[in-house]
């Protein structure tokens, strides 16, 4: 039960679609494999954020920290992932499946906070 939320209806929610489709997942796996083999910086170097071909990796300019956004090809969810380069290790801070063109400010702020937290603990 949630305290302080009177009359809030408690429901068990099940997602109607899988978190990622098979195709989205296989693309993500390939990217992770590449990062594991060659490091985070290489992924940024070989992708073309201006091009039409996925995956795309670009720096989030409006973020305070050095956050990166990765997009994979999708016909359904338009998934994108926010991660940060911690000594050539990719630390994923958030993931989204939205049809919106750009990341929302509030989402970027949340990732910024997570990054700041990591940094303050000396993990990044």
């Amino acid at each position: 039960m949630f305290s302080g939320i009177a009359n809030a209806k408690q429901v068990t929610r099940k997602p109607k679609v899988p978190a990622l489709t098979t195709g989205e997942n296989s693309q993500l796996m390939s990217c992770l494999k590449f990062i594991e083999a060659h490091g985070v910086k290489k992924l940024e170097n070989v992708t073309d954020p201006q091009g039409e071909v996925v995956p795309k990796v670009e720096r989030i300019k409006s973020a305070k920290g050095p956050l990166l956004e990765m997009k994979v090809k999708s016909s359904m969810h338009n998934p994108r992932f926010i991660y940060v380069d911690c000594n050539d290790v990719a630390v994923f801070l958030d993931a989204f499946k939205k049809k919106t063109q750009k990341l929302l400010k509030i989402d970027i702020e949340r990732s910024d906070n997570r990054y700041a937290d990591l940094k303050s603990r000396g993990d990044c």
Binding site: G23, S30, H38, V46, V72
Partner: protein, 169 residues
């Protein structure tokens, strides 16, 4: 019935996306490393290839490449693109196989090589030369596997062939 076939086809197509991503990323990285290793700038390479610098930059990104552009790029560094088509147990090399043969190896070979602290190429070359030195016959066929026999202890671990022991006997 039709639904299950459709689902299988759809899944194969979906998985193809991941394979494409893998190929594009690895190709782009190899190309970048070839150029950087040779000490050429993108502009210098562009003038050799008789294209503009942005075209070279585009080739070095994980994009949709034309086979012809790829081959021309690699040719500048005396590099080659080796390709094979694999379906089930059959592997057919489609690139020119006069210099190198592509063979499908069982996944375990990777682990065997790691156990000896060798990379896969070194391990295979050692296995081939050891089998040759031991006068064991082996047969390379681009449409077949090289099978390593863990029972052979002549050179530490393995022999190369499609059952080398049987052939030697």
């Amino acid at each position: 019935m039709n639904n299950s076939i459709d689902a299988a086809t759809a899944e194969r197509r979906e998985l193809l996306e991941g394979k494409l991503v893998h190929l594009r990323l690895e190709l782009a990285l190899v190309m970048q490393e070839l150029r950087e290793g040779s000490g050429l700038t993108q502009s210098e390479l562009a003038s050799r290839l008789k294209v503009q610098q942005p075209a070279v930059a585009k080739l070095e990104r994980a994009g949709d490449h034309k086979l012809e552009s790829l081959m021309r790029y690699l040719c500048e560094f005396d590099a080659d693109l080796l390709m094979a088509v694999k379906q089930g147990d059959t592997t057919v090399q489609v690139s020119d196989d006069e210099e190198h043969l592509l063979v499908a190896l069982p996944r375990e070979v990777d682990e065997w090589a790691a156990e000896q602290d060798l990379d896969l190429d070194e391990f295979v070359m050692q296995a081939v030369s050891d089998a040759h030195a031991a006068n064991q016959r082996y047969h390379f066929d681009p449409a077949s596997y090289i099978v390593f026999s863990p029972q052979n202890e002549n050179y530490g671990v393995y022999a190369v062939t499609q059952d080398i022991r049987e052939r030697a006997a």
